[in-house]
Every structure is written in structure tokens, then in C-alpha cells.
Symmetry: C2
Subunit: 157 residues, 2 copies
């Protein structure tokens, strides 16, 4: 268990992290916002999926996800197919143009990180990745009221 000063320092690091995010946003291609990039990345990493699943992975509300998807669908980067298992849903799939866009994104972000983190070891990059994944998991394990759907089987005191 960490002490108060350590938690406060961590919070300040969280706050300052925005600067890193914004610099990554600045290198995105025209028409591809941060939200669009996140959707393309997840579809490329995990394959076809529904809006709801995408919203979970993005950790944002479905309404937000819907808008992001509408944005990239307008640009022809994803197609929406009927879901044979559920008429209310559609399956999202990257188009060839979407994959090209994703490749461009990946090239730019990889290049930027390789430059900025040139003095980081492979292991250090991995450590940060693992710790941030665990951080998110630690928060997901205790979902707030807003994130907890009515039917979720969660025991809360």
C-alpha cells in the first residue's frame, strides 16, 4: 500500500500525460482524429466486431463509439454488415482503404515513438505497457455506477 504523497505524485503524472497524447494526435493524417485512429487500431488488432464490443475496448460510451464509427464509415474505412445473430447489430469490418489508412497511422506513430523513446530499452517500453494495462484493469474491476449496466452480475457492497 502506497502512501498519500506517492498517490498525489501519480495523479500529477496522470495529469501531465495529456501532453504526450496531444503530441501523438498532432501527427495524425487529415480526416483521421484520435477517435478514428483508436477504432481503426482495434479493428486491425482484434478483427471484425460490433459497436458494443468496440465501445468496451475503447472504454467509452456507445454513443461516442457510434459517432466515431460513423465518421470513419463516411470516409470509406469501414463497412457495416448485418449481424446474422442479432438484427439490432451490425458487424464492423475494415475496408482495404481502412487498412491502408491504418498502415499509415501505424507507420507515423511507430516512427514518433521510436524517435522519442530512442533511449528506452525494449524491456522498459514493455514495463510501461504492462503497468498501464494493469492500471486500467484495476479500475475496470471496480466499475463506477455509470459504467455498470443494470444486468451485470456484479456484487457491490
Amino acid at each position: 500500500m502506497a502512501d498519500r504523497a506517492q498517490y498525489e505524485e501519480l495523479i500529477r503524472q496522470f495529469s501531465a500525460f495529456g501532453a504526450v497524447k496531444r503530441e501523438l494526435t498532432r501527427i495524425l493524417p487529415v480526416g483521421c482524429s484520435s477517435g478514428s485512429a483508436a477504432v481503426l487500431s482495434l479493428l486491425g488488432r482484434y478483427g471484425d466486431m460490433r459497436i458494443g464490443r468496440l465501445a468496451e475496448l475503447l472504454a467509452v460510451d456507445m454513443s461516442v463509439t457510434s459517432r466515431h464509427v460513423a465518421h470513419i464509415a463516411e470516409r470509406g474505412w469501414v463497412d457495416r454488415f448485418p449481424d446474422p445473430a442479432d438484427g439490432r447489430s451490425r458487424i464492423l469490418r475494415l475496408t482495404p482503404a481502412g487498412r491502408t489508412q491504418l498502415d499509415e497511422l501505424s507507420e507515423r506513430t511507430t516512427h514518433l515513438l521510436a524517435d522519442r523513446l530512442s533511449d528506452w530499452t525494449d524491456d522498459e517500453v514493455g514495463q510501461l505497457s504492462v503497468l498501464m494495462a494493469r492500471l486500467r484493469a484495476s479500475f475496470d474491476d471496480h466499475p463506477s455506477a455509470q459504467e455498470r449496466p443494470a444486468g451485470a452480475s456484479l456484487i457491490t457492497t
Copy 2:
């Protein structure tokens, strides 16, 4: 040097980090936004300072900082004194009410982190803090054009 897949994974962690930030935002007292909290925290940690210095620590534009400060000044949480060394600047100082507000903030965020990170060791919390500090430093060392003032003595190729 990490490989492409590792950088891509790191980027996805960066993207999902927003969920953690938003949960921390939700517990803030009424009238105290995330920006206000960051200003109060930095004034509490580093003491009286000018807007420009605060903008550096926040890693946002001075115009943004100015708005945040105006917000908390309206609420009586900071005073602005003339800077004897420079008539264009004013020195920001926490008021007693501001310190009370900061204490309340600190209590809430510490409590939330202690709950969510209850199974993290002191050392693991420290590691995340250090890695995020280093991440920001790695980006600060290569400032983008937008962040680099005209007079800065930086050698860029």
C-alpha cells in the same frame, strides 16, 4: 529499441488510459474541474508561481492556463499578486480556502487510488509514476514546433 507491435500496443494503452482519467474526474467536488484540480495541486506542491510557469508544469498553452486560473480565482481559491520583478506578470498564491479545497481533493483522489490499487505494492505504484514521468520527459526533450518558443536555445536538425 522496441519493435512495431510493442509500440502499437503502447499506443492502445495510451488510448484506453482516458477511462482512468475520467473516473478520477467524476469524484471531483462541484465547481472543481480537472483543470482546476491540476492547478491547485501544482500550487500546493511547488508553491507560488506565475501563469507561465504553471503552463509549463501543466504542459498546456498559456491561454488554457489563464482560463483555469480565472476559474479558481473566481471561487476564491487563489489570489493574484503583482510580480515585483515583472509588471506583466502576477504571482499566484493559494488562499486558505484554496488549501482547504486542495485537501479535500487530495483526500478524495487518495482514497480512490487506495481502493483501486489496493493490490498494488508500494514499489509498483512507484514504478508507474517513474515511467510516466520519464515518458513525459522523453517527449519534452524533443518539443514539437508548437511548443518550442522562438527564442529557445534548441538545436534541431
